[in-house]
């Protein structure tokens, strides 16, 4: 603790301050009280070396008091006792040392004895000063500690949250897909094998990417494509997909696992709620500042969608907010029978 308080700069400041005070006393004794140069210097050095050493003790005292919960009366008596002890100890130690050094110099010893009241007042002043400064320092340190701890905590929470938001594979989707595979093994083993491979690839990407923040559009489109292929097997001709992707966007960086949840949302509100066919449209284009992805789907306005609505969208919204500190990157347009989300990814 002491070492942490007294970093190099603080050490230097601490020593400098005492040297300055000692120098002031030296000048004062020499000019005002006519003490000879040598004795004035010894007096200054001895007095404030002793106080500087007592200062370390006071730091521990402040630190200790900060850890204990006391009421105001207790605090006041604690510091008053500290003050009495400090001043008495300081004066006593100085007197003994100076007497031992300059016992033969009678006029100086008389001056020393007479100046004790003034010295006591100076002692009280330095005591209060040092305690206030230490108190302030301690609080600043604690505040810094807390800020550091809180930042670390939010960082790790953010990390955990991002991983969670990224890696969600809905069990409903997984088990229904496995059921489709089970059905295909009876009628079309080649298609079943194809579906298992796609499922595996889909899951592998979801798992691998969980540790990474960014991916490329190409990878994201591939992953979303796997998802859509699987859904197309499940729903066959009920899912009608159209894609329109500008060349030249494929290498753009995008947050990992950002497209699939949006497409899943479109499929869920389109195909899951409509008994007939449902269109899902995917459009991607890019300019120097943004990559824009538009995903639209038909929906049935009369069918109140079942639970889970919006969680996919709000997850994406949250991730964008964490990554870009902006809340305007995902826009939702709801028309009478058509739902559209527009995702804009800034070029970083």
């Amino acid at each position: 603790m002491l070492s942490r308080l007294f970093t190099r700069n603080l050490w230097l400041s601490y020593i400098t301050i005492w040297i300055v005070i000692a120098a002031i006393q030296f000048v004062l004794l020499n000019r005002v009280y006519d003490i000879d140069l040598k004795m004035a210097a010894i007096d200054g050095v001895v007095s404030y070396t002793v106080f500087a050493i007592i200062g370390f003790g006071l730091w521990n005292m402040v630190r200790f008091s900060g850890k204990q919960k006391r009421n105001q009366l207790e605090m006041v008596s604690y510091y008053l006792a500290g003050m009495a002890f400090t001043v008495l100890f300081w004066l006593g130690a100085c007197y003994l040392i100076l007497n031992a050094i300059a016992g033969h110099n009678k006029p100086y010893i008389v001056f020393l004895t007479n100046s004790m009241t003034v010295r006591a007042l100076a002692g009280v002043f330095f005591y209060l000063l040092i305690i206030s400064v230490f108190y302030l320092l301690m609080n600043i340190r604690e505040l810094q500690d807390r800020v550091v701890r809180e930042t670390m905590l939010t960082e790790s929470l953010r990390e955990a949250e991002l991983n969670l938001l990224r890696s969600q594979i809905r069990p409903h989707f997984l088990f229904n897909s496995l059921n489709s595979v089970s059905a295909l093994t009876l009628t079309d083993p080649a298609k079943a094998r194809d579906m298992v491979i796609k499922l595996a690839e889909f899951m592998r990407y979801s798992l691998n990417v969980a540790g990474e923040a960014m991916s490329t559009l190409e990878q994201e489109l591939h992953h979303a494509g796997l998802y859509l292929d699987i859904e197309k097997v499940r729903f066959s001709d009920r899912l009608i997909l159209s894609k329109e992707i500008n060349d030249g966007c494929f290498e753009r960086k995008v947050p990992a696992m950002i497209l699939q949840p949006l497409l899943e949302n479109a499929v869920k509100h389109g195909v899951y709620t409509m008994p007939g066919q449902a269109n899902v449209n995917l459009k991607v284009h890019c300019d120097p500042a943004f990559l824009q992805v538009t995903i639209g789907n038909d929906f049935d306005p009369d069918a109140a969608p079942r639970k889970g609505t919006g969680t996919g969208l709000s997850n994406v919204q949250k991730r964008l907010a964490v990554l870009y500190h902006r809340s305007d990157l995902l826009q939702v347009n709801k028309k009478e029978r058509y739902f559209e989300v527009v995702l804009r990814i800034p070029v970083s």
């Binding site: 088990f175 229904n176 059921n179 089970s182 709620t273 008994p275 109140a304 079942r306």
Partner: protein, 248 residues
């Protein structure tokens, strides 16, 4: 004679695997396959099957909603991929259910039990569908649509289209964009299951949709009159008004 069965599932392959598993089975015969709840409702009414293989999550009308509006319920074998709320309701009522994907053996075992229940209809305890439905809603928390039936006409009302709900003895009347519909449920049920951020019970007899409020005026010392956009003037009790005020 073979039992008549219908398969209800919105995924073609999920229907296919049930019918494929049942090829050569001498106890049941698949007479129809349906892709959504409304088709199923029509088919069950017309064909009166003995047995229905029923998925829970479907467009338009889900498995439980379908059962709720059916006048006569056939024997049901539930199938679901992953719906922890439905599974909870099944388990609370000791109902057999299939978890997708399932094996042929597992399907045959469920079928065996169902056939036994059909053959000894009187003696075997039948699952309480209404209670199951309630437990399903309770597990899910809020509802997002209400299904009503008048004669053979079934209406699905999304909760955001409801203006207000009024108690009428053992029933409640639901006033909505889609008209007025009577439902055999308690006010308590609607108070608990309509989304709490949009619906408030302002009186023993009324639950209103907050977005429908047009005006609120004092009436007697303790009570207020709430006018809705549809023109209805409803009384709010002092307690109801207090609740209402916290939202405004």
């Amino acid at each position: 004679m073979k039992l008549k069965a219908i398969i209800v599932d919105d995924e073609p392959l999920a229907r296919e695997i049930v019918s494929k598993f049942l090829i050569g089975n001498n106890k049941v015969e698949i007479v129809e396959e349906c892709g959504d709840g409304f088709q199923a409702l029509k088919a069950i009414r017309e064909l009166k099957p003995d047995l229905v293989f029923l998925d829970i999550q479907m467009p338009k009308l889900d498995g439980f909603e379908l059962l709720e509006v059916l006048e006569q319920r056939p024997e049901i074998i539930f199938a679901t991929a992953y719906d922890q709320f439905a599974i909870k309701a099944f388990e609370m009522n000791a109902v057999d259910y299939l978890l997708k994907p399932f094996s042929k053996e597992r399907l045959e075992a469920a079928l065996e039990k169902a056939v036994k229940r059909i053959e000894s209809k009187a003696e075997m305890p039948q699952p309480n569908i209404d209670r199951m439905r309630e437990q399903y809603d309770a597990a899910r928390g809020t509802i997002d649509r209400v299904v009503t039936r008048l004669g053979s006409k079934v209406t699905v009302i999304a909760v955001d289209k409801i203006w207000y709900v009024e108690s009428q003895d053992d029933y409640v009347m639901i006033y909505s964009e889609l008209g007025n519909h009577l439902k055999e449920k308690t006010m308590k049920y609607f108070e608990e299951h309509l989304p709490a951020d949009t619906f408030v019970r302002i009186h023993r007899s009324y639950i209103i949709n907050l977005s429908q409020i047009a005006a609120i005026e004092p009436y007697t010392k303790d009570t207020h009159i709430v006018t809705l956009k549809c023109g209805a003037k409803l009384r709010a009790s002092s307690e109801g008004y207090k609740k209402l005020r916290t939202y405004l």
